[in-house]
């Protein structure tokens, strides 16, 4: 099976409408190491140049960078570009059906005063509440019919993914980055981040471990139309712990599919708050609404749109 090669451009721009005297930013924009992902080239261009920078790895194993600006500036532009290959790693029905019954997984993850298996110890990091994932009994109720007794854990997860896809409407106007999961559950609307948080919260409410995955998704332009720069967005999905069956298996509740070569992984955390692509604190200025443009181009299939690989220039983001 052939790897699929991509060029990804993720551009963020702030026009502050006034001088920012001091700014600190945390970047989760560099792709994480994974067995099925190969990063050929990656660079982040920042305008203006930061006064200070530190690179590191966060507690969940993701690359992270911190930058600071001490000089006054009224805009910020961060352009992350990468060439990356994704190897096929499909999760098929047989794999899902062969996973352990969900009660067994739940009981393995529960504490019993003995030393846990190393994989389980890693998994319990993703078992409890986190800032965007409140674990409430309403969520366990919501997921209950997806997990009849002795259902293999991954089959249950697929049921839950399908349920979310069927019952919820994709609606970018319905929520913000801080909309609580319980509100999403009631209103049945949201975006990929909301559906991922909802699915994670439901799984954790049952005592299962689930991670939040951020990254990119290949989209297809309408037939006959060229691919537009910046037409895509960053994406989020879910990874479920299934000991003995691939350990962690991805589910995309927004699209009701099992991610394979069309999902490019950036980072993994308990929820969005651990791995927000760009999080900052600024002093001064007026507005602080970012413009974000993401473009994912499969390099082997089609021609690269003009301008995509150019060096950044002022004003280009308006294209």
């Amino acid at each position: 099976m052939q790897p699929v090669r991509y060029h990804v451009l993720h551009e963020t721009r702030y026009d502050y409408g006034g001088a920012i005297s001091l700014s600190h930013q945390q970047l989760h924009l560099s792709p994480r190491f994974l067995p099925w992902q190969l990063v050929h080239e990656q660079r982040i261009d920042i305008e203006p140049s930061p006064t200070w920078r530190r690179d590191g790895v966060d507690a969940f194993g993701n690359p992270v960078s911190w930058i600071a600006f001490h000089a006054p500036h009224d805009s910020l532009r961060i352009r992350s570009a990468m060439n990356i290959s994704v190897l096929p790693h499909p999760a098929d029905d047989a794999l899902l059906a062969a996973s352990l019954p969900w009660e067994i997984v739940r009981d393995r993850l529960a504490y019993d005063a003995t030393a846990p298996e190393p994989g389980d110890l890693e998994a319990v990091r993703y078992l409890f509440e986190s800032p965007h994932v409140r674990v409430k009994h309403e969520l366990a109720d919501f997921a209950a019919d997806c997990f009849p007794p002795e259902t293999p854990v991954l089959v249950g997860a697929r049921n839950l993914m399908a349920k979310i896809f069927d019952e919820f409407e994709f609606d970018p106007e319905a929520t913000t980055v801080s909309t609580p999961v319980l509100e999403v559950l009631v209103n049945k609307r949201g975006v990929c981040q909301d559906f991922a948080h909802l699915m994670i919260a439901s799984l954790r409410a049952l005592g299962l471990a689930a991670r939040y995955v951020s990254g990119y998704l290949l989209t297809r332009p309408p037939p006959g139309r060229p691919r537009l720069i910046g037409a895509d967005a960053s994406h989020a999905w879910v990874s479920v712990y299934a000991p003995g069956s691939g350990e962690w298996v991805d589910f995309d509740p927004t699209n009701n599919l099992l991610p394979d070569t069309e999902h490019i992984t950036l980072a993994i955390g308990r929820d969005f708050s651990d791995i927000s692509p760009l999080r900052g604190i600024i002093l001064g200025g007026g507005g602080a609404e970012p413009e974000v443009a993401v473009t994912v181009v499969p390099l082997d299939e089609e021609e690269i749109p003009a301008g995509l690989l150019d060096e950044p220039e002022a004003g280009e983001a308006e294209a």
């Binding site: 507690a59 600071a68 504490y111 604190i281 602080a288």
Partner: protein, 840 residues
């Protein structure tokens, strides 16, 4: 001789009594104290109680109560009878507290490092990963010296068999050590002979150990002196008094998050003289609020980027960020095993029996023994009051059990503890000892030798009722001093005069934060402003009273001036001014919500004083406190005009004593200079506006107006001593404007301001644009001869009066511009609030 206090002191079969043995005899270590207490005459005891109350009020010892809708400070409640603990018993307690501090430190090292405790199953992951208090960004950070826990408090209680048990651990930013110190300073003066004769251990060594411990870990470079600051969330925190108190006692600047800024790998304090690197932050702010970049982003309290400075090892944060994790009561049941594993020792002091419902057998036990247990949240971030099982019936009980079953890991159950009781002096009887349940909060600090020093004493907390099961300062409990006796000599060390090396000599407060300087500047302005308005209102009120309600020309004139200056609302807004003005004057004195009112000035004054509390002397603080009490008391009743005048007299007295403290007691550092600049600037502005208005208003030509002008400028005595005749325009103007030896004159203020500006230009390297000195010279060059033959009572808008008024108003405008320039140059960053941004 009155009958002995023991005659009506209640015994209890269910509780251990600190003072009495089971058969009702006074315990040996209490005997001497009890005999003394029994011998004190009722009136003598009454005086001592009054002394306690007065000291607390005067020192402004308060505890802010969140539940109070008015957000009021409540005076600290202190019982004068100390809790006495004998030497042998304390030795055990002390060793156990030190062991527990070392154990909790080792746990933090493990949980933020290797996590052997989780890998070996000694701790449930739910109590680590399941807690919001586990700060993931701090995983893997190793602080200098391997010290996570720098200061630690533990709540102890004594069971009926006399053993001490641990009720709760405080590892976040433990409070109360400062209150314990304050209690000691008061109670040791209530019973000075007993304090000396009983060989009570002193507390100062403990605080020195804390200072040495922090200094020894400070990541300094070369021969830098460690720069240690105390970080407070601000004056609205429940224990802000203590933050200010400890900062002053330990000699550390008290700072808020906005005073600190991260540049590169270091964190700095913003001071008047630039950025000064900080080596150690002793924090009283919860850890998740400390860095909005990586921790909670929804709060402006923190220091963006602080975690990266910690990662770089360039600052010590005490306690380390993430240490609040161990406050969870659910951990207690696991500590014996963890202690064996990490320290290789047996846990010396047991914790109160605790069941974490996250374990199946524990949950079963809790359901079975529900009536004997108290249910608490497992995680300190959960908001929930303890619930007593036996108090729950019917639906409430079923609901609680359902909640526990749904999320068992979020709850713990503890055995109910019958707290011991201690003798407490009754406030409602003439002479009586009553018994109240008590608990002891003990303290430990990391010392410079890598171990823990335990405070010989602590904060004894007293429950409100005789049968109470919970002690809470939030719920109105009181406190006691704790006397730990010793067989050996008592250390005479005091922190009030620490020994200082030549390198440590500090001549001026060069590390003053910009925020403190700004607040001192405003303290100066407000203290002058309230003096000015009090004087103006007194002058007006006195004339209204003298005129017997009739509106004489002089009365009308001064009311018009008060309106022009904004002390009274303008007539269009409030018609009552026209009708004699009594009501409006009273409102201008007492109503804090009326713009420009005296009460409003007092409130602003208190506000700025509160923000620089650690910079003010105790005497300073006493004056301000009495002022606010007086205003609040007066506001409640409806004072008569005469009472109002008497109030204004006292206000002016307090004002002059305040001013005296500033002149006499404060060191002449930058902070003092800004205070005085604020004061002079405000007075200059008041005088210039007053005299210019006086010259422009036709109504001031009436008889008696020059008299009140002199009185307003507090210069009537000087005038009379120089000119033994009734006031005339020329000499009055000369005295109030041009005489540069009159401390209430315009020129005097302008010259002084000019001198301070020169000095600042020299020392702080910032040149003012010279607008003020130009305006001053312009005024000085006014030709006084123009006023020589002026018939003041006849003139209306005459050229000389208008010209002088013009020049005074120009000077006032220059003063306003100066104030803005100072704010721009020295305080700008203070007003900026940081905001979070987020992009996907």
């Amino acid at each position: 001789m009155a009958r002995t206090l023991l005659a009506i002191y209640p015994h209890s079969a269910r509780r251990y009594d600190e003072m009495l043995t089971g058969d009702g005899n006074v315990r040996a270590h209490w005997r001497q104290f009890f005999i003394h207490l029994d011998s004190v005459a009722p009136e003598e005891m009454h005086q001592r109680l009054e002394f306690v109350d007065r000291r607390i009020l005067e020192n402004g010892v308060t505890y802010n109560v969140y539940a109070d809708p008015n957000g009021a400070d409540r005076p600290w409640a202190l019982d004068p009878v100390p809790l006495i603990i004998p030497p042998d018993e304390w030795a055990e307690v002390s060793a156990a507290v030190a062991q527990r501090a070392a154990l909790l430190n080792a746990m933090l090292a493990d949980l933020y490092g290797e996590q052997r405790l989780l890998a070996e199953g000694l701790l449930p992951p739910a109590l680590v990963y399941g807690q919001h208090g586990y700060l993931w960004p701090c995983q893997g950070i190793k602080p200098p010296g391997g010290t996570w826990l720098h200061h630690y408090a533990v709540d102890l209680a004594r069971s009926p068999n006399g053993r001490w048990w641990v009720i709760a651990d405080r590892t976040q930013a433990p409070s109360g050590a400062g209150y314990a110190l304050e209690n000691r300073l008061i109670v040791s003066r209530v019973f000075p002979e007993m304090f000396r004769d009983l060989n009570v251990q002193h507390l100062a060594d403990f605080f020195r150990d804390q200072q040495d411990g922090l200094s020894s870990l400070a990541p300094t470079e070369g021969d830098e002196t460690p720069h240690i600051v105390l970080l407070t969330p601000g004056p609205y925190n429940e224990t802000y008094f203590e933050h200010a108190y400890l900062a002053r006692y330990l000699g550390y600047p008290l700072v808020e998050g906005q005073d600190l800024t991260v540049r590169g790998d270091s964190v700095f304090l913003k001071t008047l003289r630039g950025l000064k690197r900080v080596h150690v932050i002793l924090r009283r702010q919860d850890d998740d609020y400390c860095d909005p970049l990586e921790l909670r982003g929804d709060s402006a309290l923190g220091v963006p980027g602080l975690l990266n400075v910690v990662r770089a090892g360039r600052v010590v944060v005490a306690n380390a960020l993430g240490s609040g994790l161990l406050t969870s009561g659910a951990l207690m049941g696991f500590l014996p095993g963890v202690c064996e594993r990490l320290l290789g020792e047996r846990l010396a002091m047991p914790s109160v029996a605790t069941w974490w419902c996250g374990e199946k057998p524990a949950l079963d036990y809790v359901k079975k023994h529900f009536d004997e247990l108290v249910i608490k949240p497992a995680y300190p971030t959960q908001r929930m009051d303890p619930v007593f099982g036996f108090e729950l019936e019917g639906d409430a009980r079923a609901e609680m059990l359902r909640r526990i079953e749904a999320r068992p890991h979020a709850y713990v159950a503890q055995e109910m503890v019958n707290l011991s009781q201690a003798p407490t002096w009754s406030r409602s009887h003439e002479r009586r000892l009553i018994a109240r349940p008590v608990g002891l909060r003990a303290y430990a600090v990391a010392n410079a030798d890598g171990g823990y020093s335990v405070m010989p004493g602590g904060l004894t907390r007293v429950a409100q009722g005789a049968t109470a099961r919970i002690i809470s300062m939030q719920r109105g409990g009181a406190s006691k001093d704790t006397w730990v006796l010793t067989d050996g000599p008592v250390s005479q060390f005091t922190l009030l005069k620490p020994s200082v090396g030549v390198r440590d000599l500090v001549r001026s407060g060069s590390n003053l934060s910009s925020r403190v300087v700004e607040n001192l500047f405003w303290l100066g302005r407000y203290s002058e402003r309230f003096d000015d308005s009090a004087r103006l209102l007194r002058v007006a009120l006195a004339r209204v009273v003298d005129a017997g309600g009739e509106k004489t020309p002089a009365v009308a004139s001064i009311l018009e001036l008060a309106e022009r200056l904004g002390v009274l609302p303008s007539p269009e807004e409030d018609n009552e001014v026209v009708e004699g003005g009594e009501h409006a004057l009273l409102e201008a004195i007492y109503d804090p919500n009326q713009p420009g009112s005296l009460a409003g000035s007092i409130r602003s004054l208190m506000w700025s004083a509160t923000h620089v509390r650690e910079r003010l002397s105790l005497d300073h603080w006493h004056s301000l406190n009495s002022l606010q009490r007086e205003q609040q008391a007066a506001q409640k009743k409806h004072p008569t005009l005469t009472e109002a005048i008497a109030f204004l007299d006292r206000v002016l007295l307090v004002s002059s004593s305040l001013n005296g403290f500033a002149m006499d007691n404060m060191t002449r550092d930058d902070g003092w200079r800004f205070l005085i600049i604020g004061r002079r600037l405000e007075r200059l502005s008041f005088l210039a506006q007053t005299i210019a208005s006086f010259l422009r208003m036709p109504s001031t030509r009436a008889a008696g107006c020059l008299d009140w002008l002199l009185e307003l400028a507090d210069s009537i005595i000087t005038y009379r001593s120089r000119y033994s005749r009734s006031p005339e325009l020329l000499p009055v103007i000369d005295l109030l404007v041009f005489d540069d030896s009159n401390p209430h004159g315009v020129m005097f203020q302008a010259d002084l301001l000019g001198r301070y500006l020169e000095r600042m230009a020299r020392e702080l390297g910032a040149d003012h644009d010279g607008q003020l000195s130009a305006a001053t010279e312009n005024l000085r060059s006014f030709n006084l001869e123009q006023l020589e033959h002026l018939q003041f009572s006849q003139c209306r808008h005459c050229a000389p009066c208008d010209e002088l008024a013009d020049r005074l108003e120009a000077l006032n405008a220059a003063a306003g511009a100066l104030s803005e320039w100072l704010a721009m140059r020295y305080f700008t960053h203070v007003g900026d609030v940081s905001r979070q941004t987020m992009a996907v």
